[in-house]
């Protein structure tokens, strides 16, 4: 692979990996009924589309994608426990509130993780600080 090209082959492999993860998420009885599959599918789509065309090793990108899915699952599992406890105390209103706020909560880790993934892929020679 030449240095001066967008990594189209990485993109294809990335989308394939994302599709497999999405299939597992949707077919698994542990996750299919929760709110996590749509957010994780979205994460996979965004992460592959925005990171895989960049320079960097394919294995590193796949590892970061895998870590992102694990973090997403844990994040959503913890928040679903929190939501269940809240719904038990406060009733259905809390449940609806959770559904409304859930995308924002997911947004926090998706954007953060993506920006960190970008940092991991940045060319260390060209790195600059804040100031």
């Amino acid at each position: 692979m030449r240095e001066g090209e967008l990594r189209i082959s990485h993109l294809i492999v990335g989308f394939s990996a994302g599709a497999i993860v999405s299939y597992i998420l949707l077919s698994s009885p542990h996750t299919s009924s929760s709110l996590s599959p749509p957010m994780l599918i979205l994460f996979n789509f965004l992460f592959v589309a925005l990171t895989f065309p960049l320079n960097g090793k394919l294995t590193r990108k796949l590892c970061i994608l895998l870590i992102g899915n694990v973090i997403g699952l844990v994040w959503n599992y913890l928040f679903s426990l929190f939501a269940a406890a809240g719904a038990n105390f406060f009733g259905n209103f809390f449940d609806a509130l959770y559904i409304i706020l859930n995308p924002f909560l997911n947004l926090i880790w998706i954007v953060s993780f993506w920006s960190m993934g970008l940092t991991a892929l940045s060319d260390t020679k060209n790195r600059k600080g804040m100031g």
């Binding site: 967008l6 957010m39 979205l42 925005l50 960049l54 940045s122």
Partner: protein
């Protein structure tokens, strides 16, 4: 809304492709082409920053016999005029126009028109008083005018006082997204490159044909962009021509500045949308991009409406599909809205600039995005009210500059 998402993804990929191929986005121009240039500097109560810019103007490498600098002191009540006069007394190519209280304070467009009347150059460049350009910026900008189709040029704006506080850091990120990705991609793809009203210029003959700046529009730069395109010219983005600006330092100033931009942009949307659609000088892609650009400040208002409706429907126990749509909506909305720096554009811009640590602030951009919702909603409501009741809605609120950027230059 999906169009905005697709558009920004295309922009991002285009810039990545350009960067990886080390392709230059500028048309190239001709470095030997050195037309006469007039630089207009509108200034109203800018005593803390005007000296810095004028000092820099004396350091420009462009031949001084081809250069004219006009400072328009727009009825300042501070020492702006005195400082400018000190420079005009020692440098014969620097001229100062003093506007009385009666003439001044009508906005940037009015001040620029006053300066334009005195300008003699073939090319008219504009710089805001808080800017700090590269020494060879005039060469970089003016060489693009060798192409007769180029009517307007725009340089890149970067933030001078980035590390001052969170607001300046977030504005920096917005600027990275806007200039490193948006403007460059538009230029590469031959779409509607936007003139930002500063760090850029216009061909004198075109400006005369257009009748100068429209003083009734708050976003006189966007207005000029579309008038140039409708007249058959194009705007060229020169990313190598960099200039530092002093970014707003507080959320209040951010509100004032963005409110003015939003209102001005909406005025342009009402003025130009129909003309863009009917234009014979624009192709389909330019028309589409032009409409998306013109209407971008309406998007936060639509986002607000959709969230309210979506939340109400969810509370009313709506069908399952709606909760799925609701779940994925915010992140898509976060990505749709053009000038509000979709996170991936900013991220890729920072990546290309090698700004590793700046990327870590990306999640915080949600605050500027959310902040833009009330700003744009208020701008739209005020514009509607002023239209209905026939009030003047063009009150110009100047962005204050503290001069804190001087520290970064001197250090």
């Amino acid at each position: 809304m999906i169009t905005y998402l697709v558009r920004h993804y295309i922009f991002t990929l285009t810039v990545l492709k350009d960067a990886q191929k080390h392709k230059k986005t500028a048309t190239g121009g001709n470095a030997t082409y050195q037309p006469t240039v007039s630089i207009l500097i509108p200034a109203r109560n800018e005593e803390k920053v005007i000296g810095r810019l004028l000092q820099r103007m004396t350091e420009l490498t462009y031949p001084k016999d081809k250069l004219q600098i006009i400072v328009v002191d727009d009825a300042s009540t501070d020492n702006t005029g005195i400082i400018a006069e000190q420079y005009s007394n020692t440098q014969n190519y620097i001229k100062i126009i003093q506007r009385s209280r009666k003439e001044g304070g009508r906005g940037k467009g009015s001040a620029l028109n006053a300066g334009f009347k005195q300008a003699t150059g073939e090319i008219i460049l504009c710089f805001d008083a808080d800017y700090y350009p590269q020494r060879d910026i005039v060469e970089k900008l003016s060489k693009e005018f060798v192409d007769p189709r180029v009517g307007v040029v725009q340089g890149r704006i970067t933030v001078l006082n980035e590390s001052q506080n969170t607001v300046t850091r977030l504005v920096t990120l917005e600027r990275i997204g806007g200039y490193r990705v948006d403007q460059q991609a538009r230029d590469s793809l031959g779409l509607i490159t936007q003139f930002g009203g500063t760090v850029g210029g216009i061909r004198r003959s075109l400006l005369e044909r257009l009748g100068g700046w429209d003083e009734s529009i708050l976003a006189e730069d966007t207005d000029l962009t579309f008038r140039a395109y409708l007249a058959g010219y194009k705007v060229c983005y020169v990313k190598e021509a960099e200039c530092y600006e002093e970014a707003v330092e507080s959320w209040q100033d951010y509100w004032k500045q963005r409110y003015r931009w939003a209102k001005g942009h909406m005025q342009c949307a009402f003025k130009h949308s129909k003309r863009v659609l009917k234009s014979n000088s624009l192709g389909f892609r330019e028309k589409l991009d032009g409409l998306l650009l013109l209407n971008v400040y309406f998007m936060p208002v639509l986002v607000l409406c959709s969230w309210i409706i979506g939340a109400l429907l969810l509370f009313l126990k709506s069908p399952q599909w709606l909760s799925m749509v609701w779940t994925i909506m915010p992140i898509f909305l976060y990505s749709f809205v053009g000038n509000f720096a979709p996170f991936f554009e900013v991220g890729i811009g920072a990546y290309l600039d090698g700004r590793t640590r700046a990327q870590w602030l990306l999640p915080l951009l949600i605050f500027t995005f959310l902040y833009n919702i009330p700003i744009c909603t208020k701008a739209l409501l005020d514009l509607a009210i002023s239209k209905i009741f026939g009030r003047n809605c063009n009150h110009w609120t100047k962005t204050p500059h503290s001069g804190n950027g001087n520290t970064y230059i001197n250090s």
